[in-house]
Subunit: 196 residues, 2 copies
DNA sequence: TTTTACCTGTCACTTATGTGACAAAATTAC
DNA sequence: GTAATTTTGTCACATAAGTGACAGGTAAAA
């Protein structure tokens, strides 16, 4: 319990070192800790995401099912990251994503209203919000560029290099859809790489 | 001169309706208006972007030259948008992008230091920064998804639908590299579409 | 333990996209 | 207005990736 909030607070302080005790306690009092079993959902398509979810422990996957019925993974969310569909959460609109637990997970959840309230009360939390948005924006930009600048094989190699810790926790099927290719293509790439 | 700042302020107020006269005058006093001829650069690869550039008039293009020497367009920036390499600007790191004027352009520029200063002085500007970051994040997310969910033809059709006003202002070559395909492929797609 | 569901590797075939080359058209510079 | 440059459309061919199918492997459920 205490360690869980500690990790959450540590992450906050990392981005906003000038954080005051007042806002930290506000962040903790407003938050609740939830446990999710494997295969359960943090968010389902059609729902409005009620709270930001900081992953204390576990691994989640964000995916989308398109008109053709294909399941497309758009992200993996391990410890020390926020589970969210940002664009939809910001506007409190229904999401088209599922966020599912690949492993049993523990999240610290801060409801939308509490976040808005904190923006009114404390200048630092507004900064926290800005820094998170800027951070996610940077990640997203890198991802877009990976599609423009790299082919499937390069995207795969970069993913391994940057996510060694995740490799053994996710399936090939999920990874291929994250990389924007078919499972068979990823299989083909791996085969080619082992030959080289 | 006055209209230029008016447009810039109107944009600000749109995002932050609660803006105070104080912060508005701070934003104006710190800003300067610059004119760029066609083909000139707002930013060059290797430079640190010194200021955010609000486009009052004109059209710019952000592009990147990769190791293979290919030029890849990552965005078009028309009136009422900010010209920037966000991730690099935020951290004041050297950019790898060129931002070039496709048309003669007029920009309102607010230096990095002024922005940081305003974050200290006024709570609202921090909000402005957050909202801009969230807005750009949403755009970026949509763009990433377009690569995952759509094929080249669909990306092209969506681009036309959402940017009728830009279509006649940009070249096919630039558009194809923005869509992540070769010029010939775009040509092929257009040919196929006219047949249908 | 057995059954079931899911995951993975592989194949043959199809389709989409990249590549290099060339000429016509449009734009720009002189 | 003419020459130089850039942009565009097109082709033939090469490569990359998608598709549907099937079998073996692995992990979860009964």
């Amino acid at each position: 319990m205490k360690e869980v909030l500690d990790k959450y607070i540590t992450y906050y302080k990392q981005l906003v070192p000038e954080a005051t005790p007042k806002e930290l306690s506000f962040m903790c009092e407003g938050a609740c800790i939830k446990t999710y079993p494997k295969k359960s959902f943090f968010l389902k398509a059609g729902e409005v995401q009620p709270a930001m979810g900081f992953v204390y422990e576990g691994l989640l996957r964000r995916y989308y099912i398109n008109e053709k019925g294909n399941t497309i993974t758009t992200g993996f969310i391990p410890e020390n990251n926020y589970a969210a569909d940002y664009p939809a959460f910001i506007k409190q609109k229904a999401s088209k994503y599922f966020i599912e637990c690949l492993e049993a997970s523990v999240l610290v959840e801060l409801p939308y209203n509490k976040i808005q309230e904190s923006y009114q009360k404390f200048q630092n939390t507004e900064r926290y919000g800005r820094l998170i948005a800027e951070y996610v924006l940077t990640l997203q930009t890198n991802r877009t560029e990976s599609f423009l600048f790299e082919n499937a094989e390069e995207r795969y190699l970069n993913f391994i290099a940057e996510n060694q810790n995740l490799m053994h926790r996710i399936s090939l099927t999920h990874l291929s859809s994250y990389l924007g290719i078919e499972r068979q293509s990823l299989s083909r790439i791996r085969k080619k790489l082992t030959r080289e």
